[in-house]
């Protein structure tokens, strides 16, 4: 009956005329009203979706399940300094740093790139999309020295900087769960950073966001990222400098605005 709490069947026959328009957007258009207010069905659908989104924020990442998706390819599991979800939500600073045990576990070698799959604010996004995205990148990166995948929990974007530094990787690709919305709880964000270091500003990153079944698809995202990675290697940088060199079609949103604040998930 409902998908993420969004009504599939209109509540009123008179609203059927909106049905063709609903094919154009997943936005909650043509809801109809009682007086000025939303109808009961729509109010309940909204609240149900909100409940599901909140559950997506709080569900833990199934690390073993992700390892199984890798079919034996090497991977590492690290944790941030945020001990639990409640701390994670209030203390983004702790989510940006590796806990001591994890830091000691990482060995320094020479890699062109390390991919990190982090829970961020939606473990469901990471669970669903991160490994397929990682696998989609493999054929596009022939000749690259790719480090074992790192799975990071209670983590935010910047934890990738410390991981890359510790492992000796020149580029880090952070694949992280974006904050769930009502319609989409499984959206993945990708952040690319050249020569990352602890304390590296977000303006030195490039971002692809909204990677999910109804947004940017994995093959499209993967080919955009491959282009960005090749250019990052050629120019020796990421961030605004790379953005300026990019053809428009390749670009994700990488200039900061208030609306980007918590894509730093």
């Amino acid at each position: 009956m409902t998908e993420h709490g969004k009504p599939v069947v209109p509540t009123n026959a008179a609203l059927d005329e909106w049905q063709p328009l609903r094919g154009l957007t997943r936005a909650r258009i043509g809801l109809g009203r009682s007086g000025n207010a939303q109808r009961t069905t729509d109010v309940l659908a909204f609240q149900a979706a909100h409940a599901q989104a909140r559950d997506a924020v709080h569900a833990p990442l199934d690390v073993q399940g992700m390892e199984r998706q890798l079919h034996g390819a090497p991977c590492l599991h690290v944790q941030s300094r945020a001990a639990d979800r409640a701390t994670y939500l209030r203390r983004p600073d702790l989510g940006r740093r590796l806990c001591e045990d994890s830091l000691h576990m990482l060995r320094k070698e020479e890699w062109d790139v390390v991919f990190v799959a982090a829970d961020g604010l939606s473990s469901i996004a990471t669970q669903t999309n991160a490994i397929p995205f990682f696998q989609a990148m493999q054929p596009l990166l022939r000749g690259w020295r790719i480090a074992p995948l790192v799975i990071a929990t209670q983590s935010r974007v910047a934890i990738g900087d410390e991981i890359a530094q510790a492992m000796g990787a020149r580029l880090v690709v952070m694949m992280i769960g974006e904050r769930p919305g009502l319609s989409v709880a499984d959206s993945l964000g990708i952040y690319l950073t050249y020569a990352p270091y602890v304390g590296c500003p977000d303006s030195l990153r490039n971002c692809l966001s909204n990677i999910h079944a109804h947004g940017m698809t994995i093959p499209v995202g993967a080919s955009k990222l491959a282009w960005l990675m090749q250019e990052a290697e050629r120019l020796g940088l990421t961030g605004v400098g790379l953005k300026d060199a990019a053809p428009d079609k390749v670009l994700g949103k990488n200039t900061l605005s208030l609306h980007d604040k918590d894509t730093d998930a």
Binding site: L24, R28, I29, R33, L89, R91, P92, G181, N210, S257
Partner: protein, 462 residues
Amino acid sequence: MGYRHRLGGESYHFPDLKTLLAVASSTRSGDQLAGLAAQSDAQRMAARYALADVPLRSFVQTALVPYEEDEVTRLIVDTHDANAFSPIAHMTVGEFRDWLLSHEADTVSLARIAPGITPEMAAAVSKLMRNQDMMSVARKIQVITKFRNTIGLPGCLSSRLQPNHPTDDLKGIAASTLDGLLYGMGDAVIGINPATDSVANGLALLDMLDQARQLYDIPTQTCVLTHVTNTLEIMNRGGAVDLVFQSVAGTQKANEGFGVSLAILREAHEAALALGRGTVGQNVMYFETGQGAALSAGAHHGIDQQTVEARAYAVARAFDPLLVNTVVGFIGPEYLYDGKQVIRAGLEDHFCAKLMGVPMGCDACYTNHAEVDQDDMDNLMTLLGVAGITFLIGVPGADDIMLNYQSLSFHDILTLRHMLGARPAPEFAAWLERMGLYDPLANQMRPLALEQTPLARLIGAA
């Protein structure tokens, strides 16, 4: 030196004005994250007592971020209007609160002092005010701005129609726009946050919005909320730019984090003025702000998040904006933890901006990782409505499918207009009436079927 107050047999000391302001602030997670919050409720009250005795002149004499280091400080200091300040120059912060609430402080006198009020003064007095105080003072203030219609008139409540789409699909955006227009939304602006922040994409979206606006001769303005440098390039290429948008914050370093400076804003402001696209006025700028932006950029200079937020209004004020809004609950629970904190922050932002003469609206919103829900948004929008908010943001069904957060629905704003007897901007209301959508006598939007309105052609045109 510093500030002292005895309370309950204990003596509290605050080494400087910055610390005093921070400790006097009502509880919020962002100040706790920054290590600036009061250690106890009693300490907070001691700070408020001490703050009440601070002369307003202290805020003119004390720069919270050094003048040499920060162009926002220089802007605040260099543009301070001593004449406008003179009627309140002798007051302490506590006396200023009492005066603001007095009947003598009416619409005219509040407008007169606005250029004399610095952000720090506004923030300071708000810390001594309860929610109702901030509402009743803000309600007396009128800030009227114009482009293709008139925003901020008494008895009006405008709205931004926000038809975002995760892939910037033009027809999808047109469908959400149509939906909003049928609810009487969009008199403040029809404004898209683009999923892809690029010049080509911005041009395409602006072109679509401008064609739709011209097709129906809608007396409103459109905007793609892309970075100011993109908008400059779009203007260079002849794009249909009504308003220049930019997120701004309260310190130079925080603005650098957004990739902007006062110089680039000035350049964009002049370029937009040169286009001369406004019909009833030439307020061409649109800014967004929000508590926590400076801290999240590591650029708050030890200032509490509400005070540094108010400094962003000094940036906005310098460019005669048509619209400014705080994106109050967007930033997440590490800055504003729950409904109580979000509501208080929304009222603070609105009050401080209006006191400074800035046309403040609000994106009453929240994210799914905060302890906030739609009941909190009902409370916030109603309080802001009573306080005379300039505009609110509406998205279909309160669900923004691109930015993944919840704002107000078109229904919510319609409900609020009805409860308060508030109307859309007059030019826009007249247009809605011409289109057969609005009954001005009842102040009601008519619930029309799509086939009953020519606006449905908007989809085909996209």
